[in-house]
């Protein structure tokens, strides 16, 4: 009985690790799709506009953004060589990195929000290697079920296990 219990505990640990690794793989696939989609969009825009946008209106990756209410007072100290900055906010703020910004711009076709259309799913799959297309289909189905509340947390674990 003890050995059986140990095997059960070991099984739960593995399922938990598989869940985390699937989430990490999904994040990497979303970043790959978002990055390729952004590059393609900019290249198309540059062709249409016969050249890149004004330099001071573009922000090259990688970058971070800090967004806060317009009413926030920010006290900022900067070292003379611009190697150090200290910001004091009198209100809350949020920090997001470039991959999060691209997702919010829709560069990953809403896959992570379960709102990806069939056409966008086709495009998204074309942006990843063939061997990984299945994961994109799964991700889209899984997140749209979660989005519609059709997949409870226990079922998510099972789906993780089945797909794994």
């Amino acid at each position: 009985a003890q050995e059986c219990q140990n095997l059960e505990i070991e099984k739960q640990k593995r399922i938990e690790r598989i869940k985390q690794k699937r989430a990490q793989l999904q994040e990497l696939l979303l970043q790959q799709i978002a990055f390729k989609n952004l590059v393609q969009r900019n290249q198309q825009n540059e062709q249409q506009n016969q050249g890149p946008p004004a330099l001071n209106s573009t922000i090259q990756l990688p970058f971070l953004i800090v967004n806060t209410s317009k009413r926030t007072v920010i006290d900022c100290s900067i070292s003379s060589d611009k190697f150090e900055y200290l910001f004091n906010f009198d209100n809350t703020f949020e920090i997001h990195d470039d991959s999060e910004v691209l997702k919010r711009m829709g560069m990953s076709f809403g896959l992570e929000a379960g709102t990806c259309s069939a056409e966008d799913l086709r495009i998204a799959k074309s942006l990843v290697p063939k061997a990984l297309e299945g994961y994109i289909t799964d991700m889209s189905a899984e997140f749209s079920w979660i989005n519609q509340g059709l997949l409870s947390s226990s079922a998510q674990a099972v789906s993780h296990l089945e797909v794994a």
Partner: protein, 48 residues
């Protein structure tokens, strides 16, 4: 007290670290607001 230190400027991606920071800032704000309300409410009303 708890501080969060992350390395930035790396190549594109790996964003999960900021969710933790944003959660921490957001929670503390609601906590501060709640304690402000409590302290405001607790002042005894002056007797006329």
């Amino acid at each position: 007290r708890s501080r969060i230190l992350v390395s930035i400027g790396e190549s594109f991606g790996t964003s999960e670290k900021f969710q933790k920071i944003n959660q921490m800032v957001c929670n503390s704000d609601s906590h501060l607001k709640r304690s402000a309300e409590v302290s405001a409410a607790s002042k005894p009303l002056k007797r006329l």
